[in-house]
Symmetry: C3
């Protein structure tokens, strides 16, 4: 069984945002899978996805701080500056975190750890909505 | 064909540890697949997975050194400090390396490169066992 | 439907190189899939894969600059030095970017964003060809 859906995530401020609920809500097919996988794919090069701690606003804030420090806007080595000083750092941050995120599916649910949530990592200031493509596939549940 | 198994990896010291053998040993189903994929998923937010060089203890040690230097414990920007000074760096390191790892399966075996091994990346001091979920799926081998 | 192919990418200079075309050309099976996924896997520990901006040579150059700055060759903490000063940084860069890359397949094509291209990330000087394993799987298109 395969299902594929495009989902628009509304524009967020620069930083890290938990979007697990939005993604699960967009996937009624999840409940029908005994075993399978979810692939979340972001179709952009200045925003990315990761799994991390889902309960603390301080963690989200500290993620932003570390990435802003590690990939600074005003570094002398940037040559791609046409699209603003946040653009090239956004590309690097995106690749560090990645455009694909996976979660196993077991008995009709995402088999995430207790503290794991899906982050939308927005690396631009003033970004618009972000498109993600959700793909689930696996073995269907029997009977019931 | 699908198979899914939960595996507990025993508690390790902070650092990088090759666990390829433990993972392969937990998957008797591997041998039955002509072509497919393995997904290893870690259900934690302060430990992660990667593939890298499997033959040198110095490489493992240098991995730890780089990550400790790049994501320092005593940085002024951390605000999430309740769970110890190694906690917030552990979250960032985990997302840099990721919670999902994949290897192609070909003719009943993991199609890794000669030097590739699966690392458990433990970012906490004094961590307990870590749970990984192994999912394999693909086309079964014929006959024989 | 499953297909798996090994592809040799010719040796490149150290840096970031767009290889989307070479990968798509090696996969005639793509056109036959209604919905599915592509997995690109690099069988090396000193080169890696990522998706990022496909239109600007400056972006590729700046990627190299950031990685060379963030994972410096002459750091005092490296102990694995036998294979040259670019070797250990190449291992770390490889794990930061990862050995696996995915793209969803929809209606016979890679469902990449407009600006997304597949990068071969070559972290060694004077590297030879790099082997990638391409796996595609999914539901076949009907009729036609």
């Amino acid at each position: 069984m395969w299902a594929q859906r495009e989902l628009q995530l509304s524009g967020r401020s620069r930083g890290f945002h938990v979007v697990t609920g939005e993604i699960v809500d967009a996937l009624p097919e999840l409940g029908g899978l005994e075993v399978g996988l979810l692939h979340v794919f972001i179709r952009h090069t200045s925003a990315s996805l990761t799994l991390n701690e889902n309960a603390s606003a301080a963690v989200l804030r500290d993620f932003r701080s570390w990435f802003d420090e590690a990939v600074p806007e005003e570094a002398p080595y940037w040559t791609h500056r046409d699209e603003g000083s946040d653009d090239m750092p956004a590309h690097v941050k995106s690749s560090l975190l990645g455009s694909s995120l996976f979660a196993p599916i077991a008995q009709g649910r995402l088999a995430l750890g207790t503290w794991q949530g899906i982050y939308l990592c927005e690396h631009r200031d003033g970004a618009g909505p972000r498109t993600v493509m959700l793909t689930v596939w696996g073995e269907e549940r029997q009977g019931g």
